[in-house]
Symmetry: C2
Subunit: 142 residues, 2 copies
Amino acid sequence: MGNTRHLMHSCLFFTANALSRRITHLADEAFRPTGLSPSLAFLLMAVVDRPGNCLKDLGQDLQLAPSTITRFADALAARSLVVRRQEGKVVSLAATDAGQALMPAVQAAWKDLYDRYSAALGREAGDDLTRRVDQANQQLEE
Amino acid sequence: MGNTRHLMHSCLFFTANALSRRITHLADEAFRPTGLSPSLAFLLMAVVDRPGNCLKDLGQDLQLAPSTITRFADALAARSLVVRRQEGKVVSLAATDAGQALMPAVQAAWKDLYDRYSAALGREAGDDLTRRVDQANQQLEE
DNA sequence: AGGTATTATTTGTATGTGCAAGCAACAAAC
DNA sequence: GTTTGTTGCTTGCACATACAAATAATACCT
């Protein structure tokens, strides 16, 4: 009795989810000035980065399910930051002028996020952790 | 143009969330035989581990917000796996017989989850990643 | 004791995200 | 060229989770 609590911290499900919540909290603060949630900001960045990408490609870039991309695209379109363009069954997004205009703030927020977690973890250690987590992601890909 | 996609993988917010989604998927499968979501199973384990703990303490153990614990407690109580016991303003949970009876299956599922991700990451590497993530969590705690 | 601050819990509401099912467009085979 | 399968997207529903506000119980100060 009393050791399960300790064992949880040796479980990747437990620790990875806790980290996700913590860093999401940090990201929410960092991106607040943009008026976008971090996830929406990431989609906008992906759109600007590769104009003409279809939703499926964006989903692969962001590692999100198709339905999630649909909804995020809805949200960005509702704010007039992107426009949907349908070609046959394929939908692509393009940033509007307003979307483009938001990019500097988004980039600044992204940098701010980096600075925040780097301050807590140390830059080196944070970068290293990020690499390891990314590698684990690839290994868990099925 | 075209390098943002690459930069995302150097962002802890991005990689940590992707890892959380992947491992949650694995955990959903592993815990399916118990009839509980992994989160509920973890709460049940915490309750069995430390009977008489109040909701606040359970929240700290699981690193979850109080409102989340309330709802998880509702869900376990609705399945008659725990009972609520109110003492003044404090609420504690105790596992019912049905809750106790589920524990072996929960433990087995937990082990199964560990085996699954260890198979993909390597046991050593997985354990090490888990330690690092846990450490990062502590460093990000405010 | 009475009023005020503190604490634990709950409730309302919102976001992120997924799965499964549906639909729409295209491709391949006959 | 119609059927059949495949692919991309959307929709309905569900769950995990949080914040802020409401509630309730307790503690503290005088």
